[in-house]
Symmetry: C2
Subunit: 368 residues, 2 copies
């Protein structure tokens, strides 16, 4: 596949770490929430192997945080998501589908409750800010809504625990998955969550002061050699194998949370009020006709222009949405929206790539 350059402009926002990662040799960017997201420093395969063995720091400032505060903050956050947040607690991270009035997926953020009247929605790639502002204006809610000036560093990989302990102290090793707390470095407090867009373990550090964040970043790389620390980025085959979905790739507004496998985050039987509730009840009662599944495809590379998944009669039975070569499986792994009757483990299919046909099979997510 041919390579193309990215045209930088102020509209594709830089982060406090952009100049550092460029000095560290970033090669590729993507754009996410109107901001630059580094994607590769060496090769995807090299970074895959390193991420599973050592530790990486990722500039994931693109995970913008929509802050909602005020008397009606809880009400507004609940209106946007089908996950029941009525018993939500500070200190927890809530993965929660945001849906429109038809039950269509708008985003799949992590939601942080800081106080009853102060929430942060750490978003995937769509302007949740505008959705929240629209609802609040339409319903005359007493809220303040803005994109917080917060940038995020992810520390990911099996050695992240030792590295973070050295920097923030041993208390951080007690932080459980999808919990957050405040930890101190050089007298400055950081909100840190045990979370991140990999399955290799790690943390996300939410940075409110760019200068402090830069000092922290530099410190990591001053002491990181003994952990074989490298700059990195969300790794495409690793996240596909881990079943971590990507909004805009794997799911869109035309998909509902049941189709995305989010059943446990769709709470239709409690008395919460949210926008898509009636639509999702109907969808549940009617039953869904397709679902996201893992796939393994017997090829070493695949252009995502070829997305039709076919049965033996050449009938389209699904649509490939993400795909990457897996150094572990030595073939392409992917995520596909499959017709329900084909959502069976080890179900075989084929795909046509230019002049040849390749075989594949359905599997669960995560892909094991």
């Amino acid at each position: 596949m041919k390579n193309f350059f990215i045209s930088k402009s102020r509209r594709l926002r830089s982060t406090p770490f952009t100049s550092r990662i460029e000095q560290q040799g970033v090669k590729n960017y993507t754009v996410y929430n109107h901001m630059l997201l580094p994607t590769t420093f060496s090769t995807v395969e090299e970074e895959y192997l390193h991420l599973k063995k050592d530790v990486q720091i990722w500039d994931v400032s693109v995970q913008r945080e929509i802050e909602i505060s005020g008397t009606d903050a809880h009400k507004l956050v609940q209106l946007m998501t089908c996950r029941d947040l009525s018993n939500s607690k500070t200190g927890n991270c809530y993965y929660a589908p945001i849906v429109d009035i038809s039950g269509g997926m708008i985003n799949d953020p992590l939601i942080y409750k800081l106080k009853d009247d102060l929430w942060r929605i750490c978003i995937a790639d769509s302007d949740v800010l505008l959705f929240a502002k629209g609802i609040a204006a339409g319903k005359n809610l007493r809220v303040n809504i803005f994109e917080a000036n917060i940038d995020t560093l992810a520390v990911q990989g099996p050695k992240s625990f030792k590295l973070m302990e050295e920097v923030f102290g041993s208390d951080i090793t007690n932080l459980k998955f999808f919990k957050y707390d405040f930890f101190t470095f050089r007298g400055k407090k950081y909100l840190i969550s045990r979370s991140g867009y990999s399955k290799q373990g790690g943390y996300e550090i939410h940075i409110e002061n760019a200068k402090n964040g830069q000092d922290l970043y530099d410190h990591f790389f001053e002491i990181g050699n003994k952990y074989n620390l490298k700059p990195g980025a969300p790794n495409h085959p690793e996240r596909i194998e881990g079943g971590l979905l990507s909004y805009g790739n794997d799911m869109l507004i035309s998909d509902n949370p049941f189709e995305c496998g989010f059943e446990k985050y769709v709470n239709l039987d409690s008395n919460i009020e949210f926008l898509g509730k009636e639509s999702l009840k109907k969808i549940r009662d009617d039953g869904i006709k397709r679902k996201l599944m893992g796939v393994k495809i017997d090829t070493e590379n695949l252009d995502l222009n070829n997305i039709d998944i076919l049965n033996n009669d050449n009938k389209v039975i699904g649509e490939l949405r993400s795909a990457a070569y897996s150094p572990y499986f030595k073939k392409v792994v992917g995520i596909a929206m499959m017709k329900m009757e084909y959502c069976k483990i080890k179900e075989n299919f084929k795909m046509k790539i230019i002049n040849k046909s390749v075989n594949g099979e359905i599997c669960n997510l995560p892909i094991t």
Copy 2:
């Protein structure tokens, strides 16, 4: 400045013309409304000179169209914009600031009224879809809202008129600026507007059927040689000189339409209802403290990391938001948000670039 590659993925959507423009040698992309926007085929300067002399076809499918239909369609569109649309007519394009409840800029689309209950909002780079959906849900409006499956080709440059006449017939030469109508090619009807993101004249063709659009694209290049037709893209120095603002570059949600020079599109004295009305009345009555102006800077290139505009006492008096080398002025031209007391034509300023200081002067937009 170092170049970086773009990491393609399904999330950065291709258009029906992507494979064609890649065969035609596109070098750079940017991302706009979650979609690929080609930016350069040769050099910015070469394309600037060509655009002013001949004719280019641009794949501006990124100008996504949000379609709003139903009983309350007019009401919803008006709620989003401070421009009075009560006497709007089909056949016209309305440039209209979309504002939030605080009067902050959310987008600056062209709005097309197709029928009383059918509107299309042709957007800049932010998810107006979600803003509209939020308001509609909050107010229980009877509307359908979706991103239409429409891709746009712009035909821009002084020879666009002759080229379009050859393809669509002589009637198209009667179409006035910011009007639209339907024209036929090979038996298929196209909505075509006399509009586009350059000051060199031209049209935008709104394509509802990808295959037909590809046929049309190919036909343009089959007959285009005699007009010296080339593939192109919105040209940075040309649009800055023309005073065509870019949402995300020149203005953001933290700016209001008065600061952006949109006074004539802020209608506060009619009886229309829109979200930011009370806020904008207050802003008008208080008076604004800064405004977007043109700038000319005595240098040949400039990194947008240096954005402070200084007076002789080294006090910050403005912020540079867009800048590009102008082949016409032989210096950098730009758009800057300036403190009101410095918004005077020929007002001098300076900027610090690494180790040197460069001089500049304020000018009007468009820059002449």
